[in-house]
Symmetry: C2
């Protein structure tokens, strides 16, 4: 085993890259642009070139590198084959085979949300745990599940896609996925805004949220208002928490995690979120799975490179 | 590795035992009573004695045995420690350590529902699959989840306890677990009977189910009536399927299985069940997880001994 490992997180705009020692200390961190043109055919050669340049810069030899881990947005199976990644232009091919061919090193690959969950287990909000569910409350709701220290990949790489579990029969607006009543419609940043607009339009109840135009309402504005004690904002947070708590309770019943690690933009509101998630979680969760704790993600945008590096060291 | 392996399934009344070759052929099968008195302290010595007697009878030497696998009703972690099994009188102790001490052989242990799921993967309705959810529709609803060929144990051995995922906010009657609105309240044999009684009492609609007293209604009677085309029974089956399909869709979104293997008493109704589960499953499942197939369990009461044997061979 070498002394170093590279972690690569391929996003739609930039590729984040990190050089780690095998204990997981981040020694260097940089980014390159993601060239998605021509079906993204330059992305892996660019990654390989950037890794080789960094090795030259740092006088790192090939024998000192344990391997390269890579996370990307799409279903990726345990063998490192991606089954289409629309944001990158990719079809179906072996990421690990291709990048390994370019570098002559061991390459492991996984879905970016799953890989980020692994990062939070290794060095983040779930440190020390082996059974963990990472929940990313961003524009959408993403997730990654770690079972006994390893990623739950699923039969088609769609394990942990918890944003699209069905939580509301009465919903009429469609989710981005085409279904209606998905968790993402209530618990994402976009979902919180939707709940807020509905609440503001449904009554004349005074609220600091009325001080801005309806199209300027954000999830941050809602949780800022919650912290000021705004009654209408509290009701919105309660709705958000009712759905998210029930959704996470079901997930707890299925995989019995030790901890839920909550990240993404909405999580910047802080631990106040847990006050709204806990009531419905505690009310509906199976007693044998009630041990699950809630923690905030701590690695932010670096979770992906940490988790990618950890992939190699598993 | 030896030529043989023993599979043991400890139930509240009898202990089922099997002698297998390492290819998974069942060579012999027998039962002993479960002595639950004195906190079940005789159970493992009885198992050990019975295994030794069988080895003597079959002229099997210790070096020819790869090990003993055991399933029992309770939360059991990956190391083989049980955290209380009320039906057996057991508290917390290492099953694998105790039985291994009695036999001088490798012992692996797991929760009985999880172990049965492993059996169905190995030699039953999920043969050839590595990502599987076994669903047992009996008096209650049990479950076991196999991820990448291994049992999803969970942080406290409660992985796959899918009978108690919350599926109905409006329920007023409590489940055996103390919560309300659990999947088990609608999808177990008991749950189907409950739905039937509610439907029969809610209207005067004619039905063959009215030919028997209300306290003689069974899940079998309901599905027999469905097969005769009884309109009220069909409505009951639709309710059953609506809940079960939605519950399984959520589970699919979390673990992305290749197949759901449906067993237990209710599954004797046969593939007609799938006609009632599929509509709500297809309507609510995340598209990326829609590949999940439905199959009937095929090993019946032997799933536990098959899975226990497989535990040793993993």
């Amino acid at each position: 085993m070498g002394k170093y490992v590279f972690g690569v997180d391929v996003g739609g705009t930039t590729v984040k890259m990190g050089l780690f020692d095998v204990e997981g200390n981040l020694l260097d961190k940089w980014e390159i642009p993601t060239r998605t043109e021509k079906n993204g055919e330059n992305i892996l050669p660019d990654v390989a070139g950037s890794i080789k340049a960094k090795m030259a810069e740092k006088n790192v030899e090939e024998k000192d590198v344990s391997g390269v881990g890579l996370g990307a947005p799409g279903p990726i199976d345990a063998a490192g084959t991606v089954y289409g990644a629309v944001n990158l232009g990719w079809g179906t091919f072996s990421i690990s085979g291709t990048l390994s061919g370019l570098l002559g090193m061991t390459v492991k690959a996984g879905n970016d949300a799953n890989v980020a969950a692994l990062g939070e287990m290794w060095k983040g909000g779930g440190k020390g745990c082996k059974d963990l569910v990472a929940v990313t409350l961003g524009t959408g709701v993403g997730g990654g599940i770690i079972v006994n220290g390893g990623i739950l990949t699923g039969s088609r790489g769609a394990g942990g896609e918890i944003g699209h579990i069905h939580v509301e029969d009465g919903e009429t607006e469609a989710c981005g996925c085409g279904n209606t009543g998905c968790l993402e419609e209530y618990a994402s940043a976009t979902g919180v805004v939707r709940l807020a607009k509905r609440a503001l339009q449904a009554s004349d109840e005074p609220s600091v949220l009325r001080h801005r135009p309806l199209d300027k309402i954000s999830a941050k504005a809602v949780f800022d208002a919650v912290k000021e004690g705004d009654a209408l904002a509290v009701k919105i947070a309660e709705q958000f928490g009712e759905y998210l708590g029930k959704g996470l309770a079901v997930i707890a019943g299925v995989v019995n995690p030790e901890v839920f690690v909550i990240g993404g933009g909405v999580s910047r509101a802080g631990e106040v979120l847990f006050d709204y998630i806990r009531p419905s979680f505690d009310r509906t969760v199976f007693k044998g799975c009630k041990n699950a704790k809630f923690a905030l993600a701590t690695l932010g945008n670096d979770a992906g490179i940490y988790g990618a590096a950890k992939l190699v060291l598993e």
